[in-house]
């Protein structure tokens, strides 16, 4: 990523320095209130968007914060989805207290295994090798699922019963919506905490200049692996939620198309900000949904055009339209150096 030239503090108004938190609060309010104003089918649609936003979030953890270009998030998403589908179908387990942790564990386990293979070793891997490796994982999983009759082959596993908690059934609509939203908010807060912690600070160093951080004594690859596993766990959780919400799982959930789409949605929204990918997913999914209603025969072309123009005008992603570059890249809590104090003594400048 290009180094940010420090924006002179005087040029930004107070609130402009904190656009991201403002955006987060606004979006949260909108999401929380949505089911009250929306019709049922729209609520169901937004639930799906929330779950996909969780998946995009997982990609941001990997790429935006750790420099791991993962073209395989769908692998963890789909594997967890299949896992809980099998739990529901073969063991009749639909309790949220079992399937959601199971989904998380599946995602965590797989990403730990794949991450270890790709990231650890004598030479630190190139970005592109990781991209290829994750892409291959996604592709191979897709092919395997298509071929395996136990997993339903090309058709996947249909008719998954609703998720339960005690005696309560999470039907699609406001009930599932708030479940998904709760999960998203909790995960979001956890991620926010992690990236702003000391660990997150070191990780930012890895992202910016891996060799330098390694010379400082940090185990760069181990840190990346940890973050990649967290990303995998989040993706798995999303997969579990998705399986029960949609009521079916199918090989495409694991495959390259979904993986690539998530990468693009996240880039479109703006990586490295956590909220950016959420916005990106929202924007594209809502656009697709309404376009397929208004111009059913040519909506993919219109979507492509919209995407193109949007990215031309907002190369840093949609979030770049709202938040300044410095805020996007992060200043980690310390107030920036005032330009007129630049030649003052260090202890004067530190506040």
């Amino acid at each position: 990523m290009a180094a940010a030239s420090p924006t002179p503090v005087g040029s930004l108004r107070g609130y402009q320095r904190h656009m991201i938190p403002i955006l987060e609060i606004v979006l949260f309010a909108v999401f929380a209130a949505a089911p009250i104003v929306l019709q049922d089918y729209m609520t169901v649609f937004v639930t799906r968007v929330i779950i996909l936003a969780l998946l995009a979030l997982s990609f941001d953890l990997a790429w935006g914060y750790s420099g791991i270009m993962s073209f395989g998030q769908a692998l963890f998403f789909g594997a967890a989805g299949y896992g809980v589908a099998l739990l529901a179908r073969d063991l009749q387990m639909t309790s949220a207290f079992i399937v959601l942790p199971a989904a998380l564990v599946i995602g965590l386990g797989l990403s730990l295994a794949i991450g270890a293979f790709l990231l650890l070793g004598r030479h630190p891997p190139t970005t592109i090798f990781v991209a290829l490796g994750t892409l291959a994982g996604s592709y191979v999983a897709d092919r395997l699922a298509r071929d395996w009759y136990y997993l339903g082959g090309q058709n996947g596993i249909p008719s998954i019963p609703p998720m339960t908690a005690g005696g309560y059934e999470f039907a699609e609509g406001p009930a599932y919506y708030y479940l998904a939203l709760t999960v998203l908010v909790i995960v979001y807060l956890v991620c926010r905490f992690v990236v702003r912690s000391q660990f997150g600070l070191a990780l930012a160093g890895v992202r910016e200049h891996e060799a330098r951080i390694a010379f400082l004594g940090y185990e760069a690859q181990h840190m990346k692996l940890a973050m990649f596993s967290l990303a995998g766990a989040v993706a798995g959780l999303a997969g579990g939620l998705y399986a029960f919400h949609e009521g079916f799982v199918w090989p495409n959930m694991l495959g390259v198309v979904v993986s690539t789409q998530i990468v693009l949605y996240a880039l479109f929204g703006g990586v490295g900000t956590l909220i950016g990918p959420v916005i990106g997913v929202m924007a594209i999914e809502i656009a697709s949904f309404s376009l397929s209603d208004s111009v059913p025969k040519i909506w993919p072309i219109v979507l492509g055009l919209l995407l193109l123009f949007a990215i031309l005008f907002a190369p840093a992603g949609l979030i770049g339209l709202v938040a300044s570059e410095r805020e996007r890249l992060g200043d980690f809590g310390r107030p920036p150096l005032q330009p007129r104090q630049a030649d003052a003594m260090p202890d004067d400048a530190a506040a």
């Binding site: 290009a2 790709l118 891997p125 090798f129 071929d147």
Partner: protein, 281 residues
């Protein structure tokens, strides 16, 4: 014996066309750092142009002549309008090229009504060697692709233009500092890459028929190829294309095809794990 000959021939013909596709993709990726998600759809455009000319009643070979030129022109326009803006942030270029690819692909799909359309080959018939039948057109493909590749090689190594391209590939900032106009060079490279893809599309359309998703197949394999071969060198692209092309065409002869498909990827990943720089460092 006969099936080995057939296998070899089939592998060669697919590999030859695949090299054309990968050359364009690889040099652009190496020079500008941009992985062009629309590259497969340039192949599609080449196939579509050929079909269009043929459907107007003109001979197929005329369409095949026009295809690389038309696609190169489109590539040039796209480079000037869109791609150029992303040289500073190559990662985001992926979104833009993906959008472009989507537009092209769905546009063509709408134009051909989502059908699978056949285009006859300009040179019909087969010849027999040692009891095995070989398609004349496949032989023509091999000849054409090899000729173009060799021409490209000489262009790169013997001309001053080629020298500048190699300089920019090796060290862009130094090249710029030495007075080489990277902007013009990038435009030229992208255009030629697109033209090569168009040619590939034109050559294969009689074999695989025209359909809107023709490009995606090449894109995924192309990605593999430039990684195996090593990014940023001419020889690397060729080596990668040859390897992936050969693997994906040859494995189905040896293993169950469903397995072969996934195996190509697994082999590629494991290979690069142990030789990260690729075949040709």
């Amino acid at each position: 014996m006969e099936s080995t000959l057939n296998a070899t021939f089939e592998v060669l013909s697919f590999g030859a066309v695949f090299v054309l596709v990968v050359l364009g993709l690889g040099i652009v990726a190496g020079m500008m750092g941009i992985f062009n998600f629309a590259h497969g759809d340039f192949v599609l455009l080449g196939a579509y142009t050929t079909y269009l000319v043929y459907s107007l009643g003109l001979p197929v070979w005329l369409g095949m002549l026009a295809a690389p030129l038309v696609v190169a022109a489109i590539g040039f326009v796209l480079e000037r309008l869109v791609i150029r803006r992303f040289y500073v942030i190559p990662v985001i270029a992926m979104v833009a090229t993906y959008a472009l690819g989507l537009i092209i692909r769905e546009g063509v799909r709408g134009l051909i009504g989502g059908l699978y359309l056949s285009v006859p080959e300009p040179i019909v018939g087969s010849f027999t060697v040692a009891g095995a039948h070989f398609s004349r057109w496949r032989l023509a493909i091999i000849v054409i692709a090899v000729t173009v590749t060799i021409t490209g090689y000489f262009l790169l190594t013997r001309t001053s233009f080629g020298l500048r391209v190699r300089a920019a590939l090796d060290n862009p900032s130094l090249a710029r500092a030495s007075g080489i106009s990277t902007s013009a060079l990038y435009a030229a490279t992208f255009t030629v890459g697109a033209g090569l893809a168009g040619l590939a599309g034109a050559l294969v359309v009689p074999l695989f028929s025209l359909f809107a998703d023709l490009g995606i197949h090449f894109l995924i394999l192309g990605f593999l190829a430039i990684l195996i071969g090593g990014i940023g060198t001419f020889q690397g692209s060729i080596a990668g294309a040859a390897t992936v092309g050969a693997l994906s065409a040859a494995l189905p002869w040896a293993v169950a095809p469903v397995l072969a498909d996934a195996l190509v990827f697994v082999i590629a990943v494991v290979f690069i794990k142990f030789r990260p720089k690729g075949l040709i460092a």
